[in-house]
């Protein structure tokens, strides 16, 4: 395996991809059926199949990696693949951030009678007074929240949790490089706990928003951007935590070596990405 170009491992036939397409198709079509016709059957099948595939496909990859089939070049493919995947995720969030900026800097002032569309306010929404954070909406039919989450309470706690978790993950990484397995596992476990703590705090925050503040998905554009941005971020934290858990279990099983541990690094990249997105959220959704 010295000359990395000489033997690039091309896996032979595999059933996993096509089964995975079935799983994803069930998820998508099942999602449609659930929403339109109220039956969760196909969706559930999709979720089950998907879980099975994640387990099976990744086990296979891990096995191959253990058999030493992967060259340095292969490792690099995985790295590049992961990096570009994270870039695509960044662009996904960019769409929602874009929506937020657009609404705040253009749409709301127009509805308010500022800028180019002064007549909008005069003729269509004469009673609307808009100010970000937008509690009331032009059409009064949407539910109006009585208040907003205080950024320097739960969200600040969450920011601290996530930032620390990035640090602890890095400590774990260094420990792994120094081949200190026990230390790695310890800090990895701490990272995971922090991740779960974040999710719990966010759960509390959502509960308060719905139950006490009346801030919901239906509260006009503020509620929409708030819940969609933090919600998708939460989904990513959940995913990241699951990945961390898997890595932790692999560490316990004795996987990874000091110089070859791409699985670990990939999960770390993902986690840092989730962390950075949160910082963006904390600033633009909560504070400013």
């Amino acid at each position: 395996m010295k000359n990395s170009h000489e033997h690039y491992y091309v896996p032979s036939q595999s059933a996993w991809p096509i089964v995975a397409t079935f799983a994803l198709f069930f998820l998508a079509f099942g999602g449609g059926i659930l929403i339109n016709y109220g039956s969760p059957l196909l969706l559930t099948a999709g979720v089950g199949l998907m879980a099975y595939i994640f387990y099976g496909w990744f086990s296979k990859v891990i096995e191959e990696s253990h058999d030493g089939l992967y060259s340095v070049q292969m490792d690099n493919s995985f790295r590049l693949g992961m990096a570009w995947f994270i870039f695509s995720e960044v662009m996904f969030f960019a769409a929602f951030f874009g929506a937020l900026f657009y609404v705040r800097t253009l749409a709301m002032p127009w509805l308010n009678g500022e800028g180019d569309h002064a007549m909008t306010h005069e003729l269509l929404w004469p009673n609307f007074i808009g100010e970000w954070p937008l509690l009331n909406t032009p059409a009064t039919s949407s539910s109006v929240p009585s208040g907003l989450p205080d950024p320097f309470h739960l969200p600040l706690i969450n920011t601290i949790l996530l930032v620390i978790s990035s640090v602890t993950l890095t400590i774990a990484h260094h420990a792994l490089k120094e081949n200190d397995r026990e230390k790695t596992i310890r800090w990895m476990a701490i990272t995971l706990v922090l991740g779960v703590a974040f999710l719990i705090v966010q759960g509390i925050e959502y509960y308060e928003a719905y139950a006490h503040l009346g801030l919901t998905l239906e509260s006009g554009i503020y509620g929409s951007t708030f819940f969609m941005l933090t919600g998708f971020h939460g989904v990513h934290v959940t995913l990241g935590s699951i990945i961390l858990l898997v890595i932790l279990m692999r560490l316990l099983k004795g996987h990874f070596s000091a110089d070859k541990h791409f699985g670990f690094e990939a999960s770390a990249w993902y986690w840092h990405f989730v962390d950075v997105v949160w910082l963006g959220l904390f600033i633009f959704v909560y504070i400013v």
Partner: protein
């Protein structure tokens, strides 16, 4: 090779066709229109067009010349050169200069088009699925403008007239020589108010007002169409504008207001079932048939049937029936007709729906009852 010259012949013919057409009447080319803005847009259009034609001729003559002379079958030997910085710089910089030359007049025209200040007449134009509403601001005058083409023409049962699909029951009437500002918006989906002769095209965005303006030079009737896909009958919501002299405009304003007053007065008298049915059918065909269909059968599941429906047949649903017609249903294509139709029209169309297509309830809805319901709101 024969094919080569054949293809160049086709090209030359096509190019010729386009350039001839460019000077021909507006069935082939953009209209020059009847406003200053429309004329500057037309000349902008022709300028860019000719620039493109010239560039095309230059580039393709080199290409076809090579194709004819540097072909293997006439013994051409390939050279091996593959770059030349000077040439490459030239054909980067020259196009930039050409573009700058185009951008200058375009910018001036655009700035002109965006200046909606100091208007003489303000008209709010609201798009509905699938008609236009015109409100003369400050005049207390507002009406709807519907397609008036005979459905038999559309369905190929009778000969089509020359304004086929470009005719309406109530055209927009405006004075010439005045700066008219259009405040364009929509009640449901996005439409676009377009009259080619004025070079005015503005999207009607629900919840926002877009501004645009024109100053018409000549008396005449100008026709346009909705220019944004807005659902099923997007192809059937034309625009007709009558530009008239100042005096005629003043006259028209008085007459129009008088006829609206007469309609209101008619609500006070007693209407028989037959009268309401006759009137109701007209109103229904004009306003409702697009969705609920001529026979009242609707289009499942988008547009509910009214024929034999609970709401139009059961006595206890009578008020619900009136209510949905007056108030519409938010977030659906069903509009609030209370603000669009007169009390007589509303009474007539509801009576019609409760008695047509075998819905024979015998109910009579009076204009007075509609009026009191409208007031109580």
């Amino acid at each position: 090779m024969k094919e080569r010259s054949c293809s160049s012949a086709v090209l030359i013919i096509l190019a010729a066709l386009w350039s001839v057409s460019a000077q021909a009447d507006w069935a082939l080319n953009m209209t020059e229109g009847v406003t200053e803005v429309s004329r500057s847009i037309y000349s902008l259009h022709m300028q860019i067009f000719w620039i493109c034609v010239v560039i095309a001729i230059a580039v393709f003559s080199v290409m076809f010349w090579s194709i004819i002379h540097h072909r293997k079958s006439v013994g051409a030997k390939a050279e091996q050169f593959h770059e030349n910085t000077t040439v490459e710089l030239i054909w980067t910089i020259v196009p930039v200069l050409i573009l700058v030359a185009m951008a200058v007049p375009a910018t001036t025209t655009l700035i002109e088009m965006y200046d909606t200040s100091d208007s003489d007449v303000d008209i709010q134009v609201t798009g509905y699925q699938w008609k236009w509403q015109y409100q003369y601001l400050g005049e207390d005058l507002s009406f709807f403008s519907n397609l008036s083409t005979n459905p038999d023409e559309i369905n190929n049962k009778v000969e089509k007239n020359k304004n086929y699909l470009l005719e309406v029951d109530e055209p927009l009437v405006v004075p010439i020589g005045k700066k008219i500002r259009f405040l364009v918006t929509s009640n449901d989906v996005i439409h676009s108010w377009w009259v080619p002769a004025f070079a005015v095209k503005r999207d009607a965005i629900p919840g926002f007002i877009n501004e645009s303006w024109t100053r018409i030079d000549e008396v005449g009737t100008y026709r346009g169409q909705c220019a944004e896909l807005c659902g099923k009958d997007h192809g059937f919501m034309p625009i007709v504008v009558q530009a008239v002299t100042d005096e005629d405009y003043a006259l028209w304003l008085t007459e129009k207001k008088a006829s609206i007053a007469a309609e209101v007065a008619a609500a006070a008298r007693v209407w028989s079932l037959e009268e309401l049915m006759v009137r109701g059918e007209q109103v229904y065909q004009k306003n409702c048939a697009a969705c609920h269909q001529v026979g009242g059968q609707g289009i499942s599941p988008m547009f509910p049937a009214l024929k034999a429906s609970a709401i139009a047949t059961q006595a206890e649903q009578r008020d619900a029936h009136i209510k949905i017609v007056l108030e519409g249903r938010a977030g659906t294509a069903m509009q609030a007709y209370g603000a669009q139709l007169s009390a007589v029209e509303l009474a007539a169309v509801i009576t019609y729906e409760r008695n047509a297509w075998g819905n024979d309830t015998g109910d009579i809805i009076t204009p007075q009852s509609i009026q009191s319901m409208l007031k109580s709101k």
